[in-house]
């Protein structure tokens, strides 16, 4: 069950400004009333977009066809719903560049093979300005080199080393990796007193 190796993501950027954008905004809860992730793409940021009356980044013609979403701080905070990265993936995004990401959101992205990389504030500001001025340019996330390259220059990208390795090696679907532990899983269970009625032989 090894997955695709993700060494780089290249494409046009879409700049979505603002901090602390939560997963309720990314995909409103009413679209969680389903037993699949089908069709979520068209509802990404639905309420924000309606309220912005066409002025939302996802409706901006300049960013049409973009595959990299560029965001601010703490993107994806709140609910653990995987529906959020699923919706953005189905909308057409393959990766995220931001100041920082909420932990559960970032974990969900990794499980889907969607890199989340961070930039230093000055670099992020420069990238956002550059992509807004010249939305047709190519933005390249190079996980091997840990860089983001664009007309704003080549910048150092932050990503947790474990996550980077999972993406580079195609082990981001963790099930196969975890199964690889074999009986060690049962051995761990064996030493947990609460799984064995706190039997007296395990008292220590």
């Amino acid at each position: 069950m090894a997955e695709r190796k993700i060494e780089r993501v290249a494409g046009r950027g879409c700049v979505l400004r603002g901090n602390d954008i939560d997963t309720d905004r990314i995909i409103p809860a009413r679209y969680l009333r389903s037993i699949t992730f089908d069709g979520l793409g068209e509802h990404a940021f639905e309420d924000d977009r309606a309220q912005a009356k066409g002025n939302h980044a996802l409706d901006d013609d300049r960013f049409a066809g973009a595959s990299i979403l560029i965001v601010g701080e703490n993107f994806g905070c709140g609910s653990s719903r995987e529906h959020a990265p699923q919706a953005l993936m189905r909308f057409g995004f393959d990766a995220f560049i931001g100041a920082s990401f909420a932990e559960i959101f970032a974990g969900n992205c990794t499980a889907l093979g969607l890199p989340c990389v961070t930039l230093e504030p000055a670099d992020l500001a420069a990238l956002m300005d550059s992509v807004e001025l010249d939305p047709g340019q190519q933005v390249v996330i190079d996980l091997e080199a840990r860089t983001v390259a664009s007309r704003a220059g080549r910048m150092t990208a932050g990503i947790r080393s474990g996550t980077r390795r999972q993406l580079l090696e195609g082990t981001w679907n963790a099930t196969a990796v975890l199964l690889g532990a074999g009986d060690a899983i049962e051995c761990t269970a064996e030493r947990l007193p609460y799984l064995h009625g706190f039997r007296s032989s395990q008292g220590g």
Binding site: D47, A50, E103, N108, T175
Partner: protein, 468 residues
């Protein structure tokens, strides 16, 4: 002498199956809780692999998010909700997983029933496809939320690939004043440390205020750790924890209970454990707290005024201005007196019996202001039974509150309980995000259940200390 360790490190090391080549830990999860919203996709993915559920006896299910709170009778009148319940029932049957459905008498919000049934215990690792899984840390467990792909991993292997968090010790010293609750403590912590201050950390709560808290208050506290960015929050287990667990359905019994207590004591952080960070707050400085913005860090004491963007560092001003514009609140005006349309008491944060008792004390002092819509939603069937045995339901009804069936209700609007249009709610839940309560333009003021009851009676935000 061995190096002193934190509870997190002890539990982590005990449950570590192995270090993965990518530097993460393969962590064994002692308890997996599932519900109807985030597990169906995981079961579909699992079925595609043909793998069985590795530890079905360590997986427990309930239905909460989509349950209507007017009637739990099946089939549910909401076709999509019924379909989700049926899917969960089918998966549980197929894989031999215990499901606490409404006919069990044990159904409720997943983070209410785990502790209530004694499934949640000190020293465990716990995961659930829900961010508020941090709740269970109140009993001295390491508990965290995951997405559906990780639910699949967990079903297939009873393990997760996760990075060990750093630990921040948050000490709340002194005492809380009357009318100040665990909800106010956690809102104040988040206000102080920010909504992303906890990213990469587990929060260990301690100090006199926390030691004096009941387990239910600690559940409220740990529940909202994630709102401060911390995926994990916990309190070291103590006598209150052990007393709480004694006699619960899934807690050990007899001599096994005594042996359990012995072991549970040992998982607490050692006296000289080192922490990656320490923060201290004074309990006496915490007031009843109300949010004025669109994230749980945007709050103030009930005696304070709504802030101006100019009071914030320049880079935060745009967010504050955006929040105030959405909330239609004016800087400089006192938060007390803000009119409300809806009062919601319930949720995994504040839907337990002690929450309902505190709200009922306030409800006794008056009647719901005409025009205010109310929902009082017990967190579980057991909470509902207990409340009814104590006559709390009657107190609420007599005061004009709407007493309802257990579920997540208006915390997140996946069921019929929703704000309408520009309505503004006083809510005992955990998130004031834009649109969170079901109307894209609906607004939420988070506060303690007693404060919500007081707001319902007065039709506006009031200081509950003036009533109690």
């Amino acid at each position: 002498m061995p190096t002193p360790k934190s509870l997190l490190d002890k539990i982590w090391d005990l449950h570590s199956v192995r270090e993965l080549p990518d530097g993460q830990t393969q962590l064994f999860i002692g308890l997996h809780l599932i519900h109807e919203v985030t597990s169906p996709q995981a079961f579909s993915m699992l079925d595609e692999t043909g793998l069985p559920v590795r530890f079905p006896e360590r997986t427990f299910a309930t239905v909460d998010h989509i349950m209507p709170t007017d009637s739990q009778l099946r089939p549910l009148s909401d076709r999509l909700a019924e379909q989700m319940v049926v899917a969960l029932e089918r998966s549980c049957r197929q894989h031999g997983i215990t499901l606490f459905d409404p006919t069990s008498g044990l159904q409720g919000i997943v983070h209410v029933i785990g502790p209530e049934l004694g499934l949640t215990q000190p020293g465990m690792t716990i995961a659930c496809g829900d961010s508020h899984t941090s709740t269970h840390g109140a009993l001295g467990a390491i508990a965290f939320g995951i997405g559906s792909s990780q639910v699949r991993d967990l079903l297939a292997t009873q393990c997760l690939a996760v990075a060990r968090p750093k630990v921040r010790r948050i000490e709340v010293t002194g005492e809380l004043a009357r009318g100040v609750y665990a909800k106010d403590v956690i809102l104040t912590i988040i206000r102080r440390l920010g909504v992303k201050g906890g990213v990469g950390y587990a929060y260990e709560y301690g100090g006199k205020v926390i030691e004096r808290m009941s387990v239910e208050e600690r559940l409220t506290l740990c529940n909202m750790s994630i709102e401060g960015g911390a995926r994990v929050g916990y309190v070291n287990p103590d006598a209150a924890t052990f007393d709480y667990l004694r006699g619960r359905e899934f807690a050990p019994r007899g001599e096994a209970f005594d042996r359990a207590v012995e072991w549970w004591r040992g998982v607490s952080s050692d006296p000289h454990a080192s922490y990656d960070d320490r923060v201290e707050l004074r309990g006496s400085e915490i007031d009843p707290t109300v949010t004025w913005g669109i994230n749980p860090g945007q709050s103030c004491g009930v005696t304070e005024s709504i802030p101006s963007p100019l009071q914030y560092p320049e880079k935060e001003r745009a967010s504050v201005a955006e929040a105030l514009a959405f909330m239609e609140l004016r800087p400089g005006e006192p938060i007390a007196g803000t009119p409300i349309d809806v009062a919601f008491i319930g949720s995994c944060t504040n839907g337990r019996i002690s929450d309902l008792r505190e709200a009922a004390r306030v409800a006794k002092t008056g009647r719901v202001k005409p025009g205010v819509r109310t929902l009082v939603v017990p967190g579980s069937q057991a909470v509902a039974r207990q409340a009814e045995a104590e006559g709390l339901d009657e107190i609420f009804r007599e005061a004009g509150f709407d007493w309802r069936e257990p579920g997540c209700s208006m915390c997140l609007a996946m069921n019929p309980d929703k704000l309408v249009g520009r309505e503004i709610s006083a809510s005992s839940s955990n998130r004031n995000f834009k649109g969170r309560q079901g109307s894209p333009r609906g607004r939420t003021l988070l506060m303690s259940p007693a404060m919500v009851a007081a707001a319902a009676i007065h039709g506006c935000v009031v200081d509950v200390r003036e009533i109690l």
